[in-house]
């Protein structure tokens, strides 16, 4: 019995392959977009974790020597004195960074490398093993060591044991630095007694790469979710229609004695199988999307935040599994109503595919009320909500509310058009378009969400770019930056540089709590560099001259938001009150920051000496000066930063960011276009009874086809007009609510009218392309098929 029932159910798909195609492709595309974005995210996150675990920077205090290298004997003395330190030897080999660690004493072992294999551990300790990504290993010469490809090691880094690193870097008896474990014995001998030449550098604050990149990931995830929502609209439409078209079969099956429960179970299993197939296809497509996008994303993230992303994709179980789960979950969500209705459907209920398509019309009032309620909720959450959940709640209420409002608004617009129609054809066109609206609602909602996502994400990314380039100008205003290792070297450097550049700008800072929040106090030299480049988000009149005159301070946005500090408020630095005269954007920083003039800073913190210098000079002279500093002071490359190079690279990275979002935009629009195509094709078969009388009364089939295209363009344009404010609201929510709640800073929002116009053109093109096939089909409908409508009616 089950077999016969299943055969009858499945036969629907054989006879309606286009519907099956819609369902599978809709779900596949939705899954592909979701899992593609997730794959990129997972890959990038894994790379940060690898970087963090490999380098251990920022997590632990480091012990360094003023002399540059540490004697191995000092390390042994420290261990004997009870210090929990671990040796690190670091250098470059074939242009690749070689890090030697001691797996037995390092707090993280050998970073992300799994040493649970006993033989491997013995090899590591005795024979020398290189752990690195395959790409990195391919770049190495033969060093007579065992090469172990390890995808979790940061790209461009080789991990090995200390002994091997010393041998290969000619550093026998010497170490680069020592990692100091967080927990130390209470009764250890003072460092000054054991190794007086060594100093402890505290863990770095505010350099946690993952926190900075979270902003990028959050936005990508939001985009992936929106794309998935677009896909789910398609799936919901396809499943609902499939149920309704199969209702006669379901009724017949039940009338012939097929039990209802088994029928529901069979359909649920059928949908599960379809969702798994579509999910698998989607995950495969997602992999291709991610593989295509990853090189650009890797460059984007590494350029923006300095985090290294490998640029090659691993097939990680967590994302393909999540892709499959979301495909199954999405189908379940889309099918829940239909399955519920089926389980409660009276046996004698008639099949009404067209009535199903028109169903939205009947519940319009209810839908409008729900839409208004959700939009009000979004506004209330925006105005009074706090926290990340409120931000996302606002986003969801806004999008769902707008999607539900779309058919209602379009209906009103079409009713208005209808009331203004002069000719009989125009009158029919408006009325007929209005009648088609419920059937096209889901596809148009998908288009609305796709376009809104495009407007929102493009606005966000473009605003991000403008803000960040401005920020780079502000923060890297000097052409060249130099970092000294200690105060003596700093003094020597300052003397050396003063005669060689236009201006030396010392950068000095002190850590201090402001209103209970960890903050850094900066004391820059009064100079045009700051006045011209540090732009305030809010400021008092003549803020810079007054700050330079010592009348007040400027603070970063994070401190202003978290400490609830406004312009004119007073903060206390080192016991002295300062009026806040300016608030500046400080993107990427996790803690508070205050700027006072150099003179005041030296009074407040007389013991602090600047170790960093910004140099104003001709950019063309930077390479020569860099070489001179390397030769005269032994400065490492990491102690010198060429601003022009960084800025050029950053701009290049932003272009790549655009490539990524552009590709995602095109894909989402394609999915929405596909939804329209499928809806039009489905409606086309149901529309013959409406079109046949118009044809019989003298409108040619070709003209009917053209009217179909005009209808699609009109609906796409109306949807685009509504998508624009929605997209801008979406961007605003991401930039001003979600970002602030998640990271503490707000990105300014810029508008890009030309980009929106281009998007509207794309939407119309997508609608025309989607309408072409059904219109052509209609124009070529055989008169005999149109006549059938009348014979059936008889």
């Amino acid at each position: 019995m089950t077999r016969a029932g299943l055969h009858a159910l499945l036969s629907h798909w054989w006879r309606n392959p286009m519907q099956l195609f819609t369902l599978v492709v809709g779900l596949s595309l939705a899954t592909a977009l979701w899992s593609g974005v997730q794959a990129v995210n997972a890959e990038a996150r894994a790379s940060y974790d690898a970087a963090a675990a490999t380098l251990g920077e920022g997590q632990f205090a480091q012990m360094t020597s003023d002399a540059g290298m540490i004697q191995q004997a000092d390390y042994i003395k420290l261990r004997r004195a009870g210090w929990l330190v671990s040796p690190v030897v670091e250098g470059r080999l074939d242009g690749v960074r070689l890090i030697g660690l001691d797996p037995l004493t390092a707090p993280n072992g050998l970073g992300p490398v799994d040493l649970s294999d006993g033989e491997l551990t013995v090899d590591v300790l005795t024979g020398g093993v290189f752990f690195a990504t395959q790409d990195t290993l391919d770049r190495l010469s033969d060093y007579n060591v065992t090469l172990v490809p390890s995808p979790d090691v940061a790209p461009g880094v080789i991990l090995t044991d200390v002994g091997t690193a010393q041998r290969l870097l000619d550093m026998d008896g010497f170490l680069s630095r020592l990692i100091v474990a967080s927990a130390q014995p209470v009764n250890q001998a003072p460092l000054a007694d054991v190794a007086p030449d060594l100093t402890v550098r505290t863990p770095q604050n505010g350099t946690d790469v993952a926190r900075l990149t979270d902003s990028f990931h959050l936005n990508l995830t939001a985009f992936g979710l929106l794309s998935f929502a677009v896909g789910i609209f398609i799936v919901h439409g396809a499943i609902g229609l499939a149920f309704e078209q199969r209702r006669p079969v379901i009724r017949t099956l039940r009338a012939l004695g097929f039990p209802l429960r088994r029928l529901v179970a069979l359909i649920a299993v059928e949908l599960l199988a379809l969702s798994l197939i579509a999910g698998a296809i989607g995950v495969g497509l997602g992999y291709l999307i991610a593989a295509a996008l990853l090189p650009d994303v890797a460059a984007t993230i590494s350029g923006l935040y300095g985090a290294s992303v490998s640029g090659t994709l691993q097939l990680r179980p967590e994302w393909w599994l999540s892709g499959l789960l979301i495909a199954v979950g999405g189908t379940g969500m889309a099918a829940a109503t239909s399955l519920f209705q089926l389980a409660r459907m009276p046996l004698l209920a008639s099949a009404r595919p067209r009535a199903w398509a028109m169903q939205a019309g009947r519940g319009r009032l209810y839908q409008a009320a729900l839409a208004v309620g959700l939009l009000i909720l979004a506004a209330l959450l925006g105005a009074f909500g706090s926290g990340l959940i409120a931000g996302f709640g606002m986003l969801a209420a806004l999008l769902i509310g707008a999607a539900l409002a779309l058919p209602v608004v379009l209906d009103r617009v079409l009713a208005f058009g209808s009331s203004r129609a002069k000719s009989v054809i125009a009158e029919w066109f408006w009325a007929d378009t209005r009648q088609q609206l419920p059937g096209l609602s889901l596809a148009l909602m998908a288009l609305l969400l796709a376009m809104a996502a495009n407007v929102g994400v493009s606005t966000m990314v473009s605003s991000f770019r403008l803000t960040f380039t401005g920020f780079l100008d502000q923060r890297l205003a000097s052409e060249f930056y130099v970092y000294a290792d200690d105060a003596d070297q700093a003094a020597a450097l300052q003397t050396f540089l003063t005669s060689r550049v236009d201006k030396v700008l010392p950068i000095q800072s002190a850590d201090q709590d402001i209103r209970g929040l960890a903050s850094e106090i900066y004391g820059p030299t009064a100079h045009a560099t700051y006045r011209e480049n540090w732009l305030f988000l809010q400021s008092a009149p003549d803020a810079w001259p007054r700050i330079e005159a010592g009348e007040g301070a400027a603070i970063n946005e994070q401190l202003a938001r978290r400490g609830d500090i406004a312009i004119g408020d007073t903060i206390t630095i080192a016991g002295q009150p300062f009026v806040v005269l300016g608030i500046y954007g400080d993107y990427g920083n996790t803690i508070g920051q205050v700027i006072v003039t150099e003179t005041l800073f030296n009074t407040l913190f007389p013991d602090i000496r600047a170790l960093r210098f910004g140099l104003r000079m001709d950019p063309a002279d930077v390479p020569a000066l860099s070489a001179e500093l390397r030769d005269s002071f032994g400065l490492a490359e990491s102690n010198m930063i060429n601003q022009a190079g960084i800025k050029a690279f950053s701009l290049d990275v932003f272009e790549r960011t655009f490539t990524v979002t552009g590709a995602l935009n095109v894909l989402t629009l394609a999915v929405a276009g596909f939804a329209i195509l499928m809806s039009l094709l489905t409606l086309a078969t149901m529309r013959l009874p409406q079109l046949a009388p118009v044809w019989a009364q003298g409108l040619t089939r070709a003209r009917l086809g053209r009217i179909e295209i005009i209808r699609a363009v009109l609906l796409a344009l109306l949807t685009a007009a509504l998508a624009l404010p929605l997209g801008l609201a979406l961007a605003w929510t991401l930039l001003a609510v979600v970002n602030v709640e998640a990271f503490g800073w707000r990105l300014p929002m810029y508008l890009f009218p030309l980009a929106y116009l281009r998007l509207a053109v794309f939407a119309v093109i997508a609608a025309v392309l989607a309408a072409l096939w059904p219109a052509r089909k209609l124009a070529r409908t055989r008169p005999a098929d149109l006549l059938k409508v009348f014979s059936n009616e008889r």
Binding site: H12, N16, A255, L256, G257, P259, L260, R261
Partner: protein, 218 residues
């Protein structure tokens, strides 16, 4: 007794409250009997047929098939009665559009697990459907589709055949041919046939007639 209907009452909700469709119908049928159910539109003929077939539930009263009160059964058991004992022929044919004629005809017999290839072949030949077995319902005329629906019902050899105006969509000549076939085959399988019809001419060819008026036996 194959079918016994006792004091059947059924009403449907209307804009001004419940509308009574059946007001205490009682009747009985045995194997081999043919009964025409006639009456004006809205007199309750189709409703009675649906209740007898277990497609709907009465407000009160009983329908017993082979002594089993189907009103007392759960949905799955009622489905089993429909599958094993009853065959319904609808006015709108209700064929499964995605299955071929051959699959449609064999369908109910397969559901009931009583598929008999020889009997099915014989049926289709006598119904004049042998040349159409690979076609889909939409490729057949109305008369041919109704013959497929009848063949589907009879292929499972049900004890009780319920037909709701099975020739209502057919012209007179085709209707006569279809009815001839149906009566012959019902007689051969010793089934009982309860047929709803508006046609006095067709009703006259049945063994008995039950005329309904305003939900009662007239």
């Amino acid at each position: 007794m194959l079918l016994r209907v006792t004091d059947l009452i059924k009403s449907y909700p209307g804009p001004d409250g419940a509308v009574a469709i059946l007001n205490g119908i009682s009747m009985a049928m045995d194997r081999g009997e043919t009964l025409a159910l006639t009456g004006e539109s809205g007199s309750g003929k189709s409703t009675l047929l649906h209740l007898v077939g277990g497609l709907d539930q009465p407000d009160s009263g009983h329908v017993a098939i082979d002594g089993v009160d189907i009103g007392a059964l759960d949905d799955a058991s009622r489905a089993a009665v429909r599958r094993d004992k009853v065959g319904v022929i609808f006015q709108q044919f209700n064929l499964i559009p995605s299955l071929t004629v051959a699959s449609n005809i064999a369908f109910q017999a397969r559901l009931a697990g009583v598929e008999d290839a020889d009997w099915t072949r014989d049926l289709t030949t006598r119904m004049g459907l042998a040349d159409h077995m690979a076609k889909y319902p939409e490729q057949l005329s109305g008369g041919q589709q109704q013959r497929v629906a009848i063949a589907r019902t009879l292929a499972a050899r049900p004890a009780l055949v319920l037909a709701d105006e099975p020739t209502g969509n057919l012209d007179e000549t085709t209707a006569d041919t279809v009815l001839d076939l149906m009566l012959t085959l019902v007689a051969e399988t010793n089934a009982a046939l309860l047929m709803v019809t508006h046609s006095e001419r067709l009703a006259a060819r049945m063994g008995r007639r039950l005329h309904l008026r305003a939900g009662r036996v007239a």
